[in-house]
């Protein structure tokens, strides 16, 4: 059983077709990289999975549970939408940390708000989990710092910990290093790499080709709102079939 099954997703913004018939699936524990030039629809696809955008057509299934079906013209309630979103985590290009909270508070805020009944034991458990996550991110000495006191790479690692705190089925990364100085991308990629080694199910939209090749189990190349080619890193990077893929990869 695939953990995620995306079928025939279409999305228009006004007259512009951003996603034209996207279908793919992935298995639990896999890391899938999505590559492609800017404007090819990669980010929109991630935003559809996280229900920040609603596709016009198609289905999204997680562990065989239908989360979205464009054929059913339903109007999900806010609570339903929230429930569906929790299957996915999203790490943004611009981090989007909450500036008024410390690193640790950023990680713990959402789990604490989600508690049905607030008691000290549970809140303590969440704090401990937050500390553990930040330690895994190599930020044990930064837990009490506010975002503006952290470097971009550190902020992005806090954001990753924050997304992991909700234990999503699938963690999505939207160009996680594009807003970073070249010097800082390494520390973020290292963290994502270690997540891959621990078989975290991930979808990574990235322009870091070497990284995508090393870390992912599957690679999807998107072009003009379509999946042009997909396969193992070796297939896509080593022996691309499509001319378009070849041309794109030649640029790197």
């Amino acid at each position: 059983m695939s953990i995620l099954e995306v079928n025939h997703i279409r999305k228009n913004f006004g007259e512009t077709e951003v996603l034209k018939d996207i279908s793919f699936s992935m298995e639990e524990g896999q890391a899938v990289s999505i590559i492609g030039s800017s404007g090819s629809g990669k980010t929109t696809l991630l935003r559809c999975l996280n229900f920040l955008e609603t596709p016009d057509e198609g289905t999204i299934k997680v562990r065989d549970e239908v989360l979205f079906d464009g054929a059913k013209k339903e109007n999900p309630s806010e609570a339903q939408l929230r429930q569906r979103r929790l299957h996915f985590g999203l790490v943004f290009q611009q981090f989007n940390l909450f500036p008024q909270y410390t690193a640790l508070e950023n990680v713990c805020l959402a789990p604490q708000l989600a508690l049905k009944e607030k008691n000290e034991a549970q809140q303590k458990k969440i704090t401990e989990m937050g500390e553990e996550l930040l330690e895994r991110m190599g930020l044990s000495d930064r837990m009490g710092n506010y975002p503006h006191q952290l470097s971009g790479g550190q902020q992005q690692r806090v954001a990753i910990a924050r997304a992991l705190a909700l234990q999503p089925d699938i963690l999505c990364f939207d160009e996680p290093t594009s807003a970073l100085d070249p010097e800082l991308t390494g520390e973020v990629l290292k963290v994502i790499r270690s997540l891959a080694e621990h078989h975290t199910t991930m979808i990574i939209v990235t322009h870091e080709m070497t990284f995508a090749r090393d870390v992912s189990d599957r690679v999807i190349f998107m072009d003009g709102g379509r999946i042009e080619e997909q396969g193992t890193p070796d297939e896509v990077f080593g022996h691309p079939k499509s001319e378009r893929t070849k041309r794109f990869l030649a640029g790197y």
Binding site: N50, L90, N96, Q100, L109, A114, Y146, H148, R162, L166
Partner: protein, 218 residues
């Protein structure tokens, strides 16, 4: 003489402070409601509020005081404000509340709209409810951003309260000016200026403190 003047001015100042405080008490929340309305997708809600804001910000407060006080009586032959000092004070208060709520609502709107959309989206993907996102994520950031413009507006309100005299609300300048007629002296008017300066000085300190308290994040 000094004590007579001081006592008289204090009496006027009490009215000034009362008008100031009650205006804030009502216009701050009303402004928030109006700002939400002015950003609403529902046109029947948005248009009237945007129109009201346009009128209240586009015409003199002095004119609004006169129309709100005299309007109902002359147009509909009913005295909605009650008689005497209390009635005039109520009319002035209503004018001030509506006028200032309009200014505040625009400040709130600016503050709310200046928060990057990524903050809302981060809250959403973390499974927070819209209410939680507003209360736990957005609100404090908005407050931080609106403290300086609010301070400006609130200090303006201190001085604007003197306009209420146009419908014979006996605020502090009225008290001071009375001594020109009765005793032929001008210094009580300067004295009223001192009251304003001290009051706005205290508010300046308060807002500076607030800004400092919110300085821990960016």
């Amino acid at each position: 003489m000094f004590w007579t003047v001081t006592l008289s001015l204090l009496e006027g100042f009490l009215t000034t402070v009362k008008l100031f405080a009650l205006t804030l008490l009502f216009s701050l929340p009303l402004g928030l409601v109006m700002s939400l309305g002015s950003m609403s997708k529902i046109k029947v809600l948005r248009y009237p509020i945007v129109f009201l804001i346009w009128v209240m910000r586009g015409t003199p407060l002095l004119l609004q005081l006169l129309i709100i006080y005299y309007g109902p009586g002359i147009l509909f032959h009913t005295n909605v404000w009650g008689s005497g000092d209390g009635g005039r004070f109520t009319a002035a208060l209503v004018a001030f509340v509506v006028n200032y709520a309009c200014y505040f609502s625009e400040i709130y709107r600016g503050g709310i709209q200046s928060i990057p959309v990524g903050q809302y989206e981060a809250g959403k993907v973390l499974g927070m409810t819209n209410g939680q996102i507003f209360r736990k994520v957005i609100l404090l950031q908005v407050i931080k951003r609106i403290v300086p413009p609010m301070a400006n507006e609130i200090i303006t309100l201190v001085k604007d309260t003197s306009l209420a005299r146009v419908i014979a609300v006996y605020e502090i300048i009225w008290s001071g000016q009375a001594f020109i007629k009765s005793d032929g002296i001008i210094w009580p008017l300067f004295y009223t200026g001192a009251f304003y300066l001290i009051f706005s000085g205290l508010l300046t300190l308060l807002f500076r403190y607030l800004e400092k308290r919110l300085d821990y994040f960016r």
